[in-house]
């Protein structure tokens, strides 16, 4: 029986998602109730939340790739034992990162707050992944589908940008805040682009398999969209630093590059009807429902991303909750929807899958609640951010007065965040036993 380490990654990914959303709910409550849950303060719950949901994105993407290459792409892994080593390193490092956060050992920076030494095993395990991926796909001599390009690009650019995010360790970068923040956000912007390559590659793969439409992965349009995405990954990040005193061409270039995303927006609108109707044969599957939802979220978030890339809008929204809405809309609405589609595509194809109808109903209700909650969550953040942005520019109120004014939006944000956490539990808890049985049969640590 073949070993399937990809499933171990998927299993751990779902655990990371559930626990990451638990800490997110806790942090949201701390945001609106000062002193809530003092045993673990906000400066610990925020990194716990962020690192666990980032781990979810990477684990689910990587697990899918390890599973799909041999199972669906007819590509046996070049080094079949390396995924297990990758998993062990990632798992142990993850536990150390969590332990550091609980004990209050930081030293890193936003999103990677753990002590910088722990970045080394993460990079080492990623090298194993890249080495194995290259060895596997380079054996495929005929034309690669676009998702193989996207996964490979994601792997290369994660390695580059994650390394770049640690350039602050060198005094040349650290000792100027303008250079330091610029490079930090250049790295982060491209890093998000790199995981988007992994996730969107997975989406294209799923569309090909679920809709039975091979054109989607080989058409010229698919490759043009990939190159447009790569172009934005490389040059479209600077809306994060419009207010920093960098050379003006950095801002102008980023503004122009970001506007090329209008092409993607136009494509979505043009393909809207056909993209939905084609999947009618499989619309009952959870995997399809998540992909369908991600289409809607891509549309909504692209409009928001385009808006905040315009400097005249960004001057009002930068540093406000609109930025959080953009980040949450992308990571939950797009990435999480696609990755849940991937997880359920794998789970629904397992012989050990559960046929419990009441569990199925709970999960489908969970999908609906998840999307409704996310919409309320996302909208409340936009309202909070726009209100704060206008008040900041007016310059009449203190920070605390502004926060009091937007508190109703923040309460809505916290309640809908907790509702999202509950809905995720409704979706993932029923599949844990099936995954456990599959792992017991086909994998060993």
């Amino acid at each position: 029986m073949k070993k399937d380490t990809g499933i171990l990654f998927v299993f751990l990914a779902l655990l990371a998602l559930g626990s990451g959303m638990f800490f997110g709910s806790l942090a949201a409550l701390q945001f609106i109730i000062p002193g809530f849950s003092d045993w673990i303060p906000f400066f610990k719950t925020r990194p716990l939340h962020v690192s666990l949901v980032v781990a979810w994105i990477f684990l689910a993407s990587v697990g899918g790739i390890y599973h799909y290459l041999p199972a669906f792409c007819n590509l046996s892994l070049r080094y079949p034992s390396l995924p297990k080593t990758h998993f062990r390193i990632f798992f142990i490092t993850g536990l150390l990162v969590l332990a550091c956060y609980f004990m209050g050992y930081f030293g890193g920076r936003e999103y990677w707050e753990f002590p910088p030494l722990l970045a080394l095993p993460i990079l080492a395990s990623w090298m194993l992944f890249g080495f194995n991926y290259a060895g596997t796909v380079l054996e495929k001599k005929n034309t690669w589908p676009v998702y193989l390009w996207m996964w490979g690009t994601g792997i290369i650019f994660f390695f580059f940008t994650f390394s770049e995010a640690y350039l602050w360790l060198f005094p040349y970068f650290r000792n100027s805040i303008v250079r330091d923040l610029s490079i930090q956000w250049k790295a982060y912007g491209a890093l998000v682009g790199s995981w988007n390559m992994l996730v969107y590659g997975t989406a294209v793969f799923l569309m090909e398999k679920i809709k039975g439409d091979t054109k989607v992965a080989y058409s010229t349009q698919a490759y043009l969209m990939y190159f447009l995405g790569l172009f934005n990954l490389m040059f479209g990040w600077a809306h994060h630093i419009y207010i920093l005193p960098v050379a003006p061409w950095v801002r102008i270039l980023s503004y122009a590059v970001s506007m090329t995303e209008l092409i993607i927006l136009a494509k979505i609108i043009r393909n809207w009807r056909s993209s939905f109707s084609r999947g009618s044969r499989v619309r009952d599957s959870l995997s399809y429902r998540f992909l369908y939802a991600s289409d809607v979220w891509i549309f909504l978030n692209l409009i928001l991303a385009l808006a905040i890339s315009v400097p005249a809008v960004n001057i009002y929204t930068h540093g406000t909750h609109v930025t959080v809405a953009h980040a949450m809309g992308s990571t939950i609405g797009i990435n999480t929807m696609i990755l849940l589609a991937s997880c359920f595509f794998i789970i629904e194809s397992m012989p050990e899958k559960s046929n419990n109808r009441s569990a199925g109903k709970i999960m489908k209700a969970g999908v609906v609640l998840f999307n409704l909650s996310l919409f309320v969550f996302w909208t409340s953040l936009i309202f909070a951010g726009v209100s704060k942005g206008v008040m900041v520019v007016e310059g009449k109120l203190s920070f605390r007065e502004m926060m009091d004014k937007i508190n109703p939006f923040l309460i809505t944000f916290a309640v809908s965040g907790i509702s999202m956490f509950v809905s995720v539990l409704m979706i993932i808890i029923p599949v844990i036993p099936s995954l456990g049985r599959y792992i017991a049969k086909r994998t060993s640590l």
Binding site: F43, G107, R109, S176, V178, I183, V250, A312, G319, V393
Partner: protein, 141 residues
């Protein structure tokens, strides 16, 4: 799309990206008006800012958390200043924990914030919107 064209596009973009990265690492980010204020205390303060994960709640140039205020110009803002910042660092608030910092650590963090203050303005509240969607920024009111 032919394979040679895909390879050409990919490697061309990578090459341009490397040149772009070089300029970002060097001349395009070299304008730092506060460098004269970056002494050893400020350098140590920056590392303390990371050690205590201050960005979980605070922003510098609008980048960071949302629980507390942006600290870019806290040292020169009207009604605030080093003494104001020191009071918060010494005792915390209902939302900010008391980190029990030593007086040397407090001085270093304030030196760092003093350096940041000299480098620019955040948030920008005096600006002019242009018809092409760009912004001409002025100075803080």
């Amino acid at each position: 799309m032919p394979l040679f064209l895909k390879r050409f596009l990919f490697w061309s973009l990578c090459l341009i990206f490397l040149v772009y990265t070089f300029y970002l690492y060097t001349s395009s980010t070299s304008a730092d008006r506060g460098l004269a204020f970056l002494d050893e205390k400020a350098k140590a303060g920056k590392l303390l800012f990371q050690k205590y994960n201050c960005t979980a709640c605070h922003q510098v140039y609008g980048l960071g958390g949302y629980m507390g205020p942006d600290l870019t110009n806290v040292i020169s803002a009207k009604g605030k200043g080093p003494g104001y910042a020191k009071a918060f660092l010494l005792s915390g608030t209902a939302r900010m924990p008391n980190f029990h910092l030593s007086s040397e650590e407090i001085d270093n963090i304030i030196a760092y914030l003093g350096y940041v203050d000299k480098t620019g303005v955040s948030p920008i509240i005096d600006f002019k919107l242009n018809a092409d969607g760009t912004v001409s920024a002025g100075e803080r009111k």
